[in-house]
């Protein structure tokens, strides 16, 4: 059962670009070897931390979006925990949220199709009321 996750982690600010790429590629190989799929990798760059983490004021944020099982996430988190340059990580499951958003979108579109005229008219009425009042 594959689920979609967002895995965000922070590495030390003094980590070089190559080392980051190396870390990401090892994580990617873990993902693909256990039947998962890496959807996107985003380096969000260096940012000031909101509080002190392992005596660091800054950190480089990296965001991975991936698909996989719970066991895969367990393995990834274990790897992040033991890898020295990673100072913090957070995994968030997002597939249920995406499902909910799609549902909302569908409902909204259905509503638009069902009544294209009344909604804007009502809005215009409210606006004029605010102006005249």
């Amino acid at each position: 059962m594959n689920r979609t996750y967002e895995l965000m982690f922070i590495v030390r600010p003094d980590m070089t670009e190559e080392d980051q790429d190396k870390l990401i590629s090892t994580l990617e190989s873990v993902v693909t070897s256990s039947g998962g799929q890496m959807k996107s990798v985003e380096k969000m760059g260096k940012r000031r931390l909101a509080y002190l983490v392992r005596r660091f004021h800054d950190g480089v944020y990296i965001l991975l979006t991936l698909e996989g099982s719970g066991g895969l996430i367990h393995e990834l988190e274990r790897r992040l925990r033991v890898s020295e340059p990673v100072i913090k990580f957070l995994t968030v499951r997002i597939d249920e949220e995406q499902k909910r958003l799609e549902k909302i979108k569908k409902i909204k579109e259905a509503r638009k199709k069902a009544s294209p005229a009344p909604a804007p008219a009502a809005e215009a009425g409210g606006e004029t009321a605010a102006v005249t009042a």
Binding site: R48, L49, A50, L52, K88, E97, R100, L101, A133
Partner: protein, 123 residues
């Protein structure tokens, strides 16, 4: 004709507004229809004759039609966090219950990954 819609909206606002007066933080923004003497709007404040207006509080996420509150969007989340780092209660911000639930979850996730402070201002 158009005026007939007004009492309904102001009545609903009357029930939702807390006793917090002008402590509106980031709730309404630029939405402020002038309403002289409306049932929920301007009010005579006791014998002193001081008038104070209560701005109508609206849920930012409902107005801007934000369905998904993202923990990565720390700028938006920061509007609903007090100077001390606390989550501002919805009676002050005007956020609706379903959105406040998601908002608090997002703020807690953002705190976990050091995007927002647990206490105090960001370093």
């Amino acid at each position: 004709m158009a005026d007939e819609t007004r009492p309904v909206t102001s009545a609903s606002e009357h029930t939702s507004g807390g006793p917090s007066g002008d402590r509106d933080r980031s709730g309404g923004g630029d939405r402020r229809p002038p309403r002289p003497g409306g049932p929920g709007g301007g009010r005579e404040g006791g014998p002193g004759g001081r008038k104070y207006f209560r701005r109508k509080k609206v849920c930012k996420f409902c107005v801007e039609k934000i369905d998904f509150i993202d923990y990565k969007d720390y700028r938006t989340l920061g509007q609903f966090v007090a100077e001390s780092g606390k989550i501002v209660p919805r009676r002050l911000t005007g956020v609706c219950t379903p959105h406040q639930r998601r908002l608090s979850l997002a703020i807690k996730q953002a705190r976990n990954i050091a995007l927002l402070p647990f206490a105090g201002r960001a370093l």
